[in-house]
């Protein structure tokens, strides 16, 4: 991922300085499409965290519903992350055989299958 290398933090202020430099670099240097995928990834992570917190704090009944919902989040995250890796122009050398269209097709097919299993197990 394009971005400045973080200098080893020596003081708290340098830590926050590093983080803001990281964030600025990310915003400026990342292509639009990758940022779009990152937004989707964040949404999935939030959904998964919310379900997990609910399960731990309130109730884990019915457990199959929790597993289905959480697996949906995790599975979708994995598929979207792999799409991002394959579509990233900086990784072209590693994914010579896989065109971006092929990567997206794999992603879509995997997601459809994942959702089918999730809704079956959701009860």
């Amino acid at each position: 991922m394009a971005g400045a290398k973080a200098s080893p933090p020596t003081t708290p202020s340098s830590m926050s300085h590093t983080v803001s430099a990281l964030w600025k670099s990310y915003v400026q240097k990342t292509p639009e499409r990758l940022k779009f995928i990152d937004a989707f990834l964040t949404f999935i992570v939030l959904s998964g965290v919310f379900q997990f917190v609910y399960c731990v704090l309130v109730t884990n009944f019915p457990f199959n519903a929790f597993l289905a919902g959480f697996a949906s989040s995790v599975g979708q995250f994995v598929l979207t992350a792999s799409l991002r890796a394959q579509v990233n122009p900086e990784n072209r050398s590693e994914f010579k055989d896989v065109s971006p269209e092929r990567a997206f097709a794999d992603f879509a097919l995997g997601s459809i299958v994942l959702h089918f299993f999730v809704f079956n197990f959701l009860g």
Binding site: F36, Q51, A65, F104, G123
Partner: protein
């Protein structure tokens, strides 16, 4: 032929006495000891015949007519007016009499102070006979008759008509054992005792004898005079301590205070009970189904609401038919798998006589259960019925769905799917725009 005879007799019944026929058959064999005069029992026997029974008389030593042929009884009821007979024909033995009871034949047996095979049979029914030769004596109430002829108060009993006058009795008492199948009908008066002589000089010897034998003093109302026994097959046997209870002489003899004796009424009531006319019940049918359904399902699911219904009739001797009976207030239903998981009352349904219904929830266990109705009360026929039903756990699609506790998970899964579709749409739209831009760029170059 039988139908015509019954019709004719029932017509006469409208004009004459009550027609009461047994629920289990009308043929009665009477074993009458030759020393007894048949004419002395005419009130009793004629009363039976008027009620529709067919009486056949025989001496105990005669071989025919036989009581049973090849283990099948020829008669529905047997009366043994043989209190002093010591030897019988080969078809009358204590074992054969018990065999008759297992074949649903009812017996009316009379005992006496003499020791006979019948008094040893009484021991098998948990009745304890007194020492031989000790009739019942009572010096109260003051009367002209000898001390062995005693007027006995008739206590309240569902078998006997209310308000029956005291009955004359002369014979042997017996002590009641602790079998739950015994039905005491007539108990000795409190002032009576069993002794072998009418003057009191032998009283001390009696006390010594009872202390030696360990049964206690043969005195008081702990002694029974007429006791019934109902077997588990619902056949009934009555042991009466005196055969003269049923005689005309005692029926006609007035009591010391002038009122006529209750012997005739008492004999009629006892015969009605023994011969399965009164206090006879049966379960016609039982039904079970889920609430809001009418047919019995092949199997129930756990936590189902189940409705169980029993239809019970009592035999009405007056009309010789079974009529629905709603007088049972303490019926219980058990839903059992090794142990009763549910035990609930089965109350009568108001407005529908004979119908007893209850609704309950099947337990949270699956397995093979039984509906058990068991009802045993003294003097009444024993009611018992079992119905076996399977109870299965819910099928995979019978569990509750869309639980309110699971909505965050449903929302999470649905939002992920929706997000995926929106993302794909936007991604592909972006792709198309990007291609157009590329084409434009290459074209412009």
């Amino acid at each position: 032929m039988r139908f015509l005879k019954t019709a004719l007799v029932s017509c006469l019944a409208l004009l004459a006495s009550v027609l009461a026929k047994s629920s289990s058959g009308d043929k009665v064999l009477v074993l009458l000891d030759p020393s007894l005069d048949k004419a002395n029992y005419s009130i009793f026997f004629n009363g039976l015949e008027k009620r529709g029974y067919e009486l056949t008389f025989r001496a105990p030593k005669d071989a025919s007519p036989a009581i049973a042929a090849y283990d099948v009884p020829n008669y529905a009821h047997v009366i043994l007016f043989t209190p002093d007979t010591k030897s019988y024909a080969t078809d009358v033995t204590p074992q054969s009499l018990v065999g008759l009871l297992s074949e649903n034949t009812n017996l009316l047996i009379t005992l006496s102070p003499k020791q006979t095979p019948l008094s040893s049979l009484a021991t098998e029914f948990s009745l304890i006979p007194p020492p031989p030769g000790t009739p019942l004596l009572s010096h109260h109430p003051k009367r002209d008759e000898p001390a062995t002829l005693i007027p006995v108060e008739v206590t309240k009993s569902p078998i006997l008509t209310a308000g029956t006058s005291p009955v004359w009795f002369s014979g042997a008492p017996h002590a009641l054992g602790n079998s739950p199948y015994l039905v005491p009908i007539l108990r000795a008066p409190a002032t009576s005792f069993a002794a072998d002589s009418t003057d009191d000089s032998g009283a001390g010897a009696i006390v010594d004898a009872t202390e030696k034998s360990g049964e206690g003093l043969w005195a008081g109302s702990q002694l029974g005079l007429v006791t019934g026994f109902q077997t588990t097959k619902d056949s009934r046997v009555v042991f009466a301590g005196s055969v003269e209870l049923f005689s005309d002489e005692y029926a006609r003899k007035p009591l010391p205070d002038g009122i006529p004796s209750g012997n005739a009424q008492f004999a009629r009531d006892v015969a009605a009970w023994v011969f399965q006319e009164s206090m006879v019940l049966r379960i016609d049918r039982t039904e079970h189904h889920r609430v809001n359904e009418t047919d019995a399902p092949e199997m129930y699911t756990i936590n189902d609401q189940i409705v169980y219904t029993a239809y019970i009739s009592a035999y009405d001797a007056r009309s010789s038919s079974w009529k629905p009976y709603d007088g049972l207030t303490d019926l219980q239903l058990e839903f059992t798998m090794l142990d009763p998981h549910v035990r609930t009352t089965l109350p009568p349904v108001a407005g529908e006589p004979g119908k007893y219904e209850v609704q309950f929830r099947a337990p949270d266990r699956h397995g093979v259960f039984k509906f058990v109705v068991g009802w045993r009360r003294q003097g009444h026929t024993f009611l018992h019925t079992t119905t076996i039903v399977p109870v299965v756990p819910p099928r995979h699609d019978q569990y509750p769905r869309f639980l309110s506790a699971a909505w965050p998970y449903y929302a999470g899964a649905i939002s992920t799917s929706v997000g995926f579709f929106v993302f794909s749409a936007l991604w592909l739209a972006g792709d198309v725009k990007g291609e157009r831009k590329n084409l434009k760029a290459t074209k412009s170059e």
